[in-house]
C-alpha cells in the first residue's frame, strides 16, 4: 500500500525525522487557511500516488495565502498520470542549500534491507545509479544482525558527505528511517530530496512510503490511511468485493483462476493480437459468488467487449466450475460475449455441461490459444 507524501511525512515525524510543518487541504479555501496558519511563503503540493508531480505542474510556490489559494485552485482536479488530484499539502517553504537522496527498501534479490544514499539528490535515483554509480552508496542490513549505527556511518562516509554537522544529522536520520521502515513494515521508505537548509539543518522534503499489505492487519492506523476514493473506481470496487483485479487498457476482459494462469492468459490474448482489458484472478477455486463478483467488476469497465474465462480445474473439478459459471450467469445480466476454456480434472464433463445449457453469448473452446483467438475476434 502506497502512502501519500503527507501521510509518509507524518510517520517520519513520529520516528523523529525532521520534516517541514504543513497543512492538508481539499479546497482552495482550506489552502488559503493553511497558508495563513503557516504564516510565510508556502509550497502547494499535489497529493497523488504517482510520480512526476513536479513536471506535471503539481508543485507550486506561493508567497501569500491568496497565492496559495490560487495555486491550489490550479492544482486541485488536475490529472496526473490518470489520477485526479483531490488533496494538496501546504507546506512551509524551505531555503534549500543542497539536495541529497536517502532510501531504505526491501531488496528481494539479496533478501536483505537495502540502504541507499547519495549527495546527488532531487533527481531520479535510477539515473544516478547509471550515470555516477560511485556517488551512490549502497549497503545491506543482514536480517540476523539487525541495524546498527555503523550502517549509517558507512553509508554517509562512502557517499563522500564531508560536513561533520551534516554527517551527524544524516547518520541519525538513517537510523530513524530504518526504525520507521521496520516499525511500519515498509517495502520502501524514500526521502528525495533530503535537503540541507541554508541554516545547515537536514530535513525530509518529500516522502515515498510503501507498506506491506500483508502486515496491515497489525497496523490498523496505517491501514486506515488507505484512500479508496483516490484509486481507480473499478479497482476500488474490486477491493471492496475482495477480487484481485488490475485495470489494463484493452477490450478483452480476462478472468483466470490463480495469479500465474491469469497472467499467462493476459499474455496469450496479447500474443494473438488482442488487447486485454484487465488482469483478474479468481483464486484457486471457482465458486459461483466469486464468479459473480469478478464479472461485476470486469463488466463495470465500459471498454470491455468480450470476456475470456480461463479455468484450470485442479482440486476444484471442471464440472463443478461449469455449474458455478452457469449459476453466476443466471444471477447477472450481461450480454458480453464470453469465451470459456476449461481444462484439467473432468474438463470434458464441464464442457458438456456448458454446451448443453448453451446460453446464447457463451462460447466453449478446448485450448487457451483457441479461446484467446475467439475472444479477440469477438471483441473486434
Amino acid at each position: 500500500m502506497d502512502l501519500y507524501e503527507f501521510q509518509g511525512k507524518e510517520l517520519f515525524r513520529r520516528f523523529g525525522i525532521p520534516v517541514s510543518e504543513g497543512r492538508l487541504a481539499t479546497t482552495p479555501e482550506e489552502a488559503r487557511q493553511g497558508a495563513q496558519e503557516l504564516d510565510g511563503p508556502v509550497v502547494v503540493k499535489a497529493q497523488v500516488l504517482a510520480g512526476g508531480r513536479g513536471k506535471a505542474g503539481g508543485i507550486k510556490l506561493a508567497a501569500t495565502p491568496a497565492e496559495a489559494e490560487e495555486r491550489a485552485r490550479e492544482i486541485l482536479g488536475m490529472d496526473i498520470r490518470g489520477l485526479a488530484v483531490q488533496k494538496v499539502w501546504i507546506e512551509r517553504a524551505s531555503e534549500i542549500e543542497r539536495e541529497y537522496y536517502l532510501s531504505i527498501s526491501f531488496d528481494r534479490g539479496a533478501k536483505k534491507t537495502l540502504l541507499m544514499f547519495t549527495t546527488q539528490g532531487g533527481i531520479d535515483i535510477e539515473e544516478v545509479a547509471v550515470s555516477s554509480p560511485e556517488a551512490l552508496a549502497r549497503l545491506h542490513v543482514d536480517p540476523l544482525e539487525g541495524y546498527h549505527a555503523w550502517h549509517g556511518r558507512r553509508l554517509v562516509y562512502e557517499a563522500g558527505l564531508e560536513d561533520p554537522g551534516e554527517q551527524k544529522q544524516v547518520v541519525k536520520i538513517v537510523g530513524q528511517l530504518h526504525a520507521a521502515f521496520t516499525g511500519c513494515e515498509a517495502m520502501l521508505c524514500e526521502i528525495n530530496p533530503l535537503i540541507v537548509t541554508t541554516e545547515g539543518e537536514v530535513r525530509a522534503l518529500d516522502s515515498k512510503f510503501t507498506v506491506d499489505d500483508n502486515a496491515l492487519f497489525r497496523l490498523p492506523e496505517i491501514a486506515s490511511m488507505r484512500d479508496l476514493a483516490a484509486a481507480d473506481p473499478l479497482e476500488a470496487l474490486a477491493r471492496e468485493k475482495g477480487v484481485t483485479y488490475v485495470k489494463l487498457d484493452g477490450e478483452v476482459g480476462v478472468l483466470g483462476n490463480g495469479a500465474g494462469l491469469s497472467m499467462a492468459t493476459v499474455d496469450v490474448v496479447t500474443f494473438v493480437g488482442g488487447r486485454p482489458a484487465n488482469f483478474c484472478d479468481l483464486g484457486g477455486g471457482g465458486d459461483a459468488q466469486g464468479v459473480v463478483d469478478a464479472l461485476e467488476v470486469i463488466t463495470g469497465d465500459p471498454q470491455v467487449r468480450s470476456i475470456f474465462f480461463n479455468i484450470f480445474g485442479g482440486i476444484t473439478r471442471c464440472d463443478e466450475v461449469a455449474r458455478g459459471i452457469l449459476q453466476a450467469l443466471g444471477q447477472l445480466e450481461t450480454r458480453h460475449p464470453m469465451v470459456v476454456r476449461l481444462d484439467g480434472t473432468n474438463a470434458e464433463e464441464g464442457r458438456r455441461i456448458l454446451r448443453d445449457a448453451a446460453p446464447p453469448n457463451l462460447y466453449v473452446e478446448p485450448t487457451m490459444l483457441d479461446a484467446a483467438r475467439r475472444a479477440v475476434e469477438l471483441a473486434a
Binding site: 536480517p143 490463480g258 495469479a259 499467462a264 496479447t270
Partner: protein, 290 residues
Amino acid sequence: MAILVDRSTRLVVQGLTGSEGRFHGLRNRSHGTDVVAGVTPGKGGQDVDGIPVFDTVAAAVEETEANTAMVFVPAPFAADAIYEAIDAGVGPIVCITEGVPAHEMLHIHAYVHVRGVAMIGPNCPGVLSPGKANVGIIPAEIFREGSVGLVSRSGTLTYQIGHELAQLGLGNSTIVGIGGDPVVGSSFVDVLARFESDPQTEQVVLIGEIGGEEEEKAAAFIESEMTKPVVAYIAGFTAPPGKTMGHAGAIISGSAGTAQAKKEALEARGVKVGTTPTETAELVAALVRA
C-alpha cells in the same frame, strides 16, 4: 528418489484441525503420504480421522518421529509456527499459508539458512512427488510419475503445464511450488540444485513470472552448475509496471523484474523459453524424445 518429499516423509500438519488443514491433510494422506500428526495448541489428545493431534510440534516429533512439516495456520501466526517447527528439528517445512508479512519472511529466510533447514513457501501450493508423497494442495491426480522436475512460482499455471505434460505422456519426478511472495524459503536456484543431484530427474521445467530477479539467478546457475536440460516459461509479458499481479511478489519495480528481461537472461544461457504453456510442454516433450 525425487526431491524434498518421498516415501520417507513423515508429515506433521500444523493447523490440521482447521477446515483447510483437515481437507488437504487427509487428501495428502489419501495420496499415500505418511501423515503422522497434527498440531493445534489446545487440541492435543484429539485426532483428525485417526491422525493424532498434539499441542506442540516438539510433542508431535517425540511421539511420531515426524520429519516434515506443513504449515496451514492463518497468516498472523504462520511465522511463529515456522519457528516452532525449526526448533523441533523438523525439515523440510512447507508453508502453504498466504499473506505472511514480508519482514517476517526476511528474518525466517536468513534463519532457516543458518539452521540448515529446507523451507518451501509461504503462499505456495506445496511439493508433490507423484506416486510417493504429496505435501500441500497440488491436485495429484493430474500428474504422473516420471523424469521431469518442475519448479514454479505459480499454482494453477503449474497444474496447467503438468497437465499438458501428462497429455503428452510425460511424468514428473517432483513438482515444487516455491510460492509467489517477494521472499520465500527456497528459491529457484535452491530447487534446481536439488533436481540436478536427483537421479530420477532428467529434465527440468522452470515456471517463472514477473518481479524479483530469481529467474535471472536461475539462468546463471543453469549455465554454470547444471548438466540437465531446462525449459522455462515466464508469465506476465504484458503486465504494467508498479501493479501487483495477484501474487505479492509479481510486481515490476521501475525497470526491474520484467518478463522480457527474464526471458532474455534465460535464452542467453541456452534455456528454451516457451511462449504459451502448450508450447512449453511441447519443448519438454521434444527434449525427452531427443
